[in-house]
Amino acid sequence: MNQEELNNVILRKRKLAYGVHDVWIKNDLIGRQAKPGQFVIVRISEKGERIPLTIAESNGEAFRIVVKAVGKSTYELCSLNEGDILYDVVGPLGKPSEIKYHGNVLIIGGGVGIAAILPIAKALKSAGNNITVIIGARTIQDLILRDEFTFADKLLPTTDDGSFGYKGNVIDAMKIELEKENYNVIWSIGPAIMMKLSSEIATKYNIPIWVSLNSIMIDGTGMCGGCRTVIKTDNSEKIQYVCVDGPEFDGRYVDWDSFIKRLNQYKEQEKLALERYLKEVGEPTWL
């Protein structure tokens, strides 16, 4: 190995929607090793926090992330340009998705979750599955990557306002689809509330559903316990570490209420950090 291969330079950057950016980062190791479902942890500066981001694609020498600006660190990440270098990038982390022949697979992506399902959908297709992809966003402008799913056997875009595809959200589309067709397994990645609702539906239909939990992390190696989440099966309740035991879990067994509460642990500090940052840099015109 040599250090130059890992230089973490931003090779390409493209705006997909307001506050959503598509970034290719040079890193041979991650470019070579990344598997669908895995993530990286990034630090933007010496004083930065460690933020996890899903690997959306890789090509042997670089990898791709799609970032949504929601707070100080992701605003800052979106402000970087081609040629800039990320201070630290570590990965790949997390267990890869269970890619094999399942049969009929329903894959649901909401918001930036669409980027997370892209590599999984591709790999499932290559493994011979018949795949139906539902992607959804508020409006056509937010519906990212919609032209990258042409390989799907069936693609069902949805928008809340009906500006593209089905009018409604991915949950509505999911319900309709499950009435029509039998599925062996589901993947559902997006905002926590969407994953929770889709898991409830999957429970009703008794179909396994993989969700990718976006818990708050630090190290990503099972060392801090901060990402822990409660997984409840029929007769047991277990603490699992999302970074090493996940990030994908069967959504039917996730204790969603405690999971969602833990996502809001630092609400006040996050608000303060963003305000302070915006005061310093002014209007975030780059978003």
Partner: protein
């Protein structure tokens, strides 16, 4: 014979240190070190040596202080102990070297830790610590090689990977680096040092000291790679193909939780998370640093080890009122005596014979209190300690907005799930022979991932043994 009193080590006063992370112990000056060194009886049969896990020639390094020959003293230390500035600060001396000093019978033992630290700090101040290539620390390695110069040159063409940069990994890297072996160290975090950087706080072990040790490794030609999670970034199979030997020193970093109701509440931390936010991410300087931390007004820390003391004293420094809850009595606490003493001086409250049974939260999922139960000590268990038994109906609630569990760690499964061929025991720790060799002949292991959570000096000792094993293996 009259024994002079032990010379106290200057410390920051509790009132001056409670609000910052400055090192508490200021260390001996030359004058004080000289006086303390003179107290050593230079025993013919120095019992102290048997108490040191790496068998440092303690009277030997001490007499050189008396003679004013600090360079010699440093050379002696360094020939046994790769990290004297660190061990002098963090070893549990009272159960090791100092616990075995004859002076215990007549008064207070020699302050061996403080003397060791003094010599090591002096060496780095004076800059004679970077001639390290000259000091060979493992006595036994040169013995293996002495009569066979071919072997020495053969080693120079070998490549060894070290996974994990805690004290075990750093020691292996240094030992092999000195012999000219090409060593690559891989660390998953963004800094090197393992627990020395993410766990033990600045006020006990300044991070500068760890940085210095890492820099010195670079001068030996060791290559260090951070941000590499071995397992996924480099598969164990690839390591086995690319390297002539592999050392696994990944630590026992996974925190345990008691698993009592309410563990998922906001405000319940593992000590590792709390300390990592503070030490590695500098969350105590939020918002200048981006990582947030909850400080709380009232903090309950559960446990009685070094980790519990570190968490409690860090929380105190962040401005909280801190209570330590421990299920046995003070006598059974595994923490270093000095830290318990410091914690008390700083105003931390202790509730002994007490154990949490439940976390109480409010409707928004935030912790507001810890329900505890009183304990009494019963029969001795396997560890020889008396077993704490709950006293029925003795429950009471301690108000708290933060609770920090420091009840121990377990095997770090991050690498091991990718390495199923590596044999582990029923607790998930790697099985090795006395030279650290595992069920895969090319793979050696040592430190907390073999013994379970232990000490810096034991991890270092294991690193030395493994380096010796690796040299034998590579020259066979």
């Amino acid at each position: 014979m009259a024994v002079k009193d032990r010379i106290p080590v200057p410390e920051l006063e509790p009132s001056k240190r409670k609000k910052n992370f400055m090192e508490v112990s200021l260390g001996y000056t030359f004058e004080l070190a000289y006086q303390e060194a003179q107290r050593c009886l230079q025993c013919k049969v120095p019992t102290c040596i048997s108490g040191c896990p790496v068998g440092i020639d303690i009277p030997g390094f001490i007499i050189e202080i008396v003679r004013g020959n600090l360079k010699k003293s440093y050379e002696i230390l360094k020939s046994y102990n790769y990290l004297p500035a660190i061990c002098g600060r963090v070893c549990p001396q009272e159960v090791q070297c100092e616990g075995a000093c004859v002076l215990n019978k007549m008064g207070k033992p020699i302050n061996i830790g403080a003397l060791e630290r003094f010599v090591a700090d002096f060496a780095s101040q004076e800059g004679f610590d970077d001639e390290r290539g000259k000091f060979s620390s493992s006595e036994s390695i040169p013995n293996i090689l002495k009569s066979e110069p071919d072997k020495v040159s053969a080693l120079k063409s070998k490549k060894v990977a070290v996974v994990g940069s805690g004290p075990a990994g750093l020691t292996v890297a240094s030992e092999l680096g000195k012999l000219g072996v090409k060593v690559h160290v891989y660390e998953a975090l963004h800094e090197f040092g393992g627990v020395l950087v993410y766990g033990i706080p600045e006020f006990r072990l300044p991070k500068e000291i760890v940085k210095r040790e890492v820099l010195q490794l670079e001068t030996l030609g060791v290559e260090l790679f951070k941000n590499i999670p071995v397992g996924y970034a480099i598969h164990p199979k690839e390591l086995l193909e690319e390297y002539d030997a592999v050392f696994v020193g990944v630590g026992a970093g996974t925190p345990k939780f008691m698993g009592i109701p309410g563990s998922e509440l906001n405000g319940v931390y593992s000590a590792n998370e709390f300390l990592t936010r503070v030490n590695l991410m500098k969350a105590y300087r939020f918002p200048e640093y981006d990582t947030p931390i909850k400080v709380g007004k009232r903090v309950v820390v559960v446990g009685g080890g070094n980790t519990a003391m570190d968490a409690a004293r860090s929380a105190l420094r962040l401005g909280a009122q801190v209570t330590v809850v421990y299920r046995r009595t003070e006598a059974e606490m595994p923490a270093r005596r000095a830290e318990i003493h410091h914690a008390k001086e700083e105003g931390i409250e202790f509730l002994f014979l007490t154990n949490p049974v439940k976390y109480i939260g409010n409707e928004s999922g935030k912790l507001i209190g810890v329900e505890c139960i009183k304990m009494e000590l019963g029969e001795s268990d396997e560890s020889g300690r008396r077993k704490p038994i709950p006293i029925p109906n003795s429950n009471f609630v301690v108000e708290a907005d933060i609770a920090i569990e420091a009840i121990g760690t377990e095997s770090n499964r991050f690498l091991l799930i990718q390495f199923p061929d590596l044999k582990t025991n029923k607790y998930g720790y790697i099985i090795t022979n006395e030279y650290g060799q595992t069920s895969i002949p090319k793979v050696f292991a040592g430190g907390d991932i073999v013994t379970g959570s232990a000490t810096v000096i034991l991890a270092m000792g294991a690193g030395k043994k493994a380096a010796e094993g690796i040299v034998r293996f590579l020259t066979e």
